[in-house]
């Protein structure tokens, strides 16, 4: 298929003719090389674009530990992206970190996703993120539920205590102050940690603190609608009738604080509390588990004497039951009497009276708020009086005792006054004085004169008796004693070692011994030779044992 022009170098001395072969060479194949290269390049580019996930930006307060090109974004310790760029915000208040997420991590570029920097953290609750000591910090991620796309995020400064989708429930606690609680503080149920504090914030009115806590499943089912929460922080030392008692949840709570919860004793609503139920955070277990106080009622008392030793928070007791506490002690001035009465404000919880309260309510009728003055009026009419009594002899602390004094003079009671004013009687010290004076009265009534006369007569009689005893009885007794002494001496002589009586007795006893020996020999002989009774005693027999052998020998031959 090739038409060749063959040159012959030999015949004409010409140069050899090159031979030409026809082939179907079209365009130079070499162009395939750059085309393949371009294809490779394009495929690389395409795969790079395809593998590139969303591009997001996260702002943090500080870039500590974050390195461009190195710091990874991890979810459950799986790398889902990488920090590609970092810059300071224009107002220098924070750092913007650009992150390239992987293709399959596009779910992390949605609303609700949280980002935070994982650094080694040492807290009272433990050490976390220790692996980052070696590998360097990384950015943790936690996806949200939403599908809505979002590319700009604000990073959290502390790792979230609860990862999204973790089983469990959140609850809200209201407390007066935060105490030693912090985010991450443990929540205990029967001294087992079942959750932690997630966040806290001041209430909008600034009068309290709201805490959010998360109880991990499945233990969240133990939180019922009636569950009581209390602050388990620190050491609870109480000195009671049964000695010194120290109560803590765990060593960690002593340092870091914690919250414990438990159901109240007795029957209660056991249905599980729904998410975000609000509870009150009590200060200690005893108050938490006490029956509910109900609505507080304010009362006022006016004392005419010094109340040194009465503090705010001092208990108010009704017949020994603690029903409330003092909230204020202030001085008033009465221009008419020119005296300084002490006004004591107190809050009482009628529900603490339990059954009595219910019955009183029923009797008074109406709802609790309107019935309270009416009930109080009735009680005051029956002699209810407030009195400051000394509760502690050592410290002189006073408490307010509400007690019934039937002898108390009647007082006017204004049921419409707010707050209700309860009449008072003189305090404990005055009471003591009264008692002393009554004692003195009684002492005065004792008939010391006649007692003295009687005593005198009796003493005289006693004197006469004693004289008689001395003159008549004593000499006689002396004589008797002497006689006894002489008898004892005779007896002594008779029984002494060398007395003939004693020697005689000894001899007689020896004689008796000998007699007994002869009788035994005789009975022995009779035992061996009963015939002797008939035949009389034979010749002297030899000693018994050898004699039998001799006799045997004599019989044999």
């Amino acid at each position: 298929m090739s038409d060749t022009k063959q040159g012959n170098p030999q015949d004409d001395g010409e140069l050899p003719r090159p031979e030409v072969r026809r082939s179907k060479l079209g365009l130079s194949l070499i162009w395939l090389v750059p085309i393949v290269a371009a294809l490779v390049g394009v495929s690389l580019l395409v795969s790079h674009i395809r593998s590139a996930g969303p591009h997001i930006g996260v702002t943090f307060l500080t870039a500590e530990g974050i390195e461009v090109g190195k710091t990874q974004v991890k979810y459950k310790n799986v790398v889902i992206g990488k920090v590609t760029n970092m810059r300071l915000s224009r107002d220098r208040s924070h750092v913007s970190v650009a992150i390239d997420l992987n293709k399959d991590a596009s779910a992390f570029a949605t609303k609700g996703t949280r980002y935070w920097v994982v650094r080694p953290r040492v807290g009272a609750g433990g050490v976390s993120g220790i692996d980052t000591l070696l590998s360097g910090a990384f950015i943790g991620a936690d996806a949200g539920d939403s599908d809505e796309e979002q590319t700009d995020f604000t990073g959290l400064e502390t790792p979230p205590a609860v990862t999204h989708g973790a089983p469990g429930r959140r609850f809200t606690l209201h407390a007066d102050d935060l105490g030693s609680l912090d985010i991450g503080s443990p929540v205990y149920y029967r001294r087992i940690q079942v959750g932690r504090i997630v966040s806290y914030e001041l209430d909008k009115d600034g009068k309290g603190v709201s805490l959010q806590l998360f109880v991990d499943g499945p233990n969240d089912r133990f939180v019922s609608k009636d569950t009581r929460f209390w602050n388990a922080s620190g050491v609870d030392v109480s000195l009671g009738a049964d000695g010194l008692k120290m109560n803590t949840q765990s060593l960690a709570t002593v340092i870091a604080g914690g919250v414990a919860f438990q159901d109240p004793r007795g029957p209660h609503d056991e249905s599980p509390a729904p998410e975000m139920t609000a509870f009150t955070l009590f200060n200690d277990q005893a108050t938490a588990l006490a029956p509910p106080d109900g609505a507080p009622h304010y009362i006022r008392m006016r004392f005419e004497h010094s109340l040194r030793g009465l503090n705010v928070d001092a208990p108010v007791e009704l017949l020994g039951m603690k029903v409330g506490h003092v909230v204020s002690v202030t001085l008033d001035y009465d221009p008419q009497t020119k005296k300084f009465p002490v006004i004591v404000g107190a809050v009482i919880y009628p529900q603490r009276l339990g059954k009595a309260h219910e019955k009183l309510l029923k009797a008074a009728g109406g709802d609790e708020d309107s019935a309270f003055p009416k009930i109080t009026q009735g009680l005051v009419a029956h002699g209810l009086r407030a009195q400051a009594r000394s509760g502690n002899l050592l410290t002189g602390q006073l408490y307010i005792a509400l007690d019934f004094d039937p002898k108390a003079p009647k007082v006017a009671f204004d049921p419409n006054a707010k707050p209700v004013e309860i009449p008072t009687v003189a305090g404990d010290f005055d009471h003591l004085q009264e008692q002393i004076s009554s004692i003195v009265d009684k002492v005065e009534k004792i008939p010391f004169d006649s007692i003295g006369k009687n005593l005198d007569g009796s003493l005289k009689e006693l004197n006469g008796t004693l004289k008689q005893v001395n003159t008549d009885l004593l000499p006689e007794a002396k004589k008797t004693l002497q006689g006894v002494n002489a008898t004892m001496g005779t007896a002594n002589d008779a029984l002494s070692e060398n007395s003939p009586l004693r020697q005689n007795i000894t001899n007689t006893l020896e004689e008796l011994q000998r007699t007994v020996r002869s009788v035994r020999a005789f009975t022995d002989y009779l035992g061996r030779h009963p015939e002797a009774l008939l035949r009389g005693r034979g010749a002297d027999a030899p000693a018994p044992v050898p004699s039998t052998s001799k006799q045997g020998k004599e019989v044999q031959p």
């Binding site: 040159g7 003719r17 090159p18 130079s28 070499i30 162009w31 090389v33 750059p34 070696l134 360097g136």
Partner: protein
């Protein structure tokens, strides 16, 4: 200037393989009557081949620089380095001399080769007569220096073989080094397929 005659002017051409001198022919499909290897006055399709290979090399030069070529892994750290970041790191780590060497071998030389080859090809196509001798020198330089730009590949290969202490530290080659090797190979091929005689071709027609 006195020009010596060229083989073509004498009606001759030579076989590149068995060196047989034959009569001149224009036919691109001519073959040596003795060894049957293709005969051409100039390297076959030199310009097209050089261009194609040069473009290929240029294409591969992009991933070679964009992709990391080496991963150094130590107990605390894992580091992917591209050629440029490796140079920056070397400079920062306090060995600017090494950085300069690597920079020269990996960046300057390939880029110079692209530029010189491109310039040679363009000037040949435009039949420029300017500085023919200098261009010949450039060509020789390109050919000579070609294989030395494998330095980077060489470094990675040696490091991966030497530094292999499992957990403690390890060096691994990454895809970038393959593309870089291809850049070097293709620029060498481009330089080889360029026929320096083309530089002088037009001179005669003057």
């Amino acid at each position: 200037m006195s020009e010596l005659p060229r083989a073509r002017e004498l009606g001759m051409m030579g076989c590149h393989v068995c060196r047989l001198v034959t009569a001149y022919t224009d036919d691109p499909k001519a073959r040596c009557p003795r060894c049957h290897s293709p005969l051409h006055v100039r390297k076959h399709a030199s310009l097209a081949r050089s261009w194609a290979l040069l473009i290929t090399a240029a294409i591969f030069y992009i991933p070679a620089n964009a992709f990391p070529i080496m991963r150094t892994q130590s107990l605390f750290d894992k580091d992917d380095n591209t050629i440029l970041s490796g140079i920056v790191e070397l400079w920062r780590a306090g060995s600017p001399d090494l950085a300069v060497i690597v920079f020269t071998a990996s960046i300057v030389v390939p880029v110079l080769k692209f530029l010189i080859l491109g310039y040679l090809l363009v000037s040949v196509q435009r039949a420029s007569e300017w500085g023919a001798r200098r261009r010949a020198k450039l060509y020789r330089f390109v050919e000579l220096v070609g294989y030395w730009s494998m330095l980077d590949v060489f470094v990675v290969a040696i490091l991966s073989a030497l530094v292999h202490f499992k957990v403690l530290s390890r060096v691994e080659p990454l895809p970038g080094v393959v593309y870089f090797g291809m850049v070097v190979v293709f620029t060498m091929l481009a330089a080889m397929s360029f026929d320096p005689r083309l530089i002088w071709d037009k001179r005669k027609s003057r």
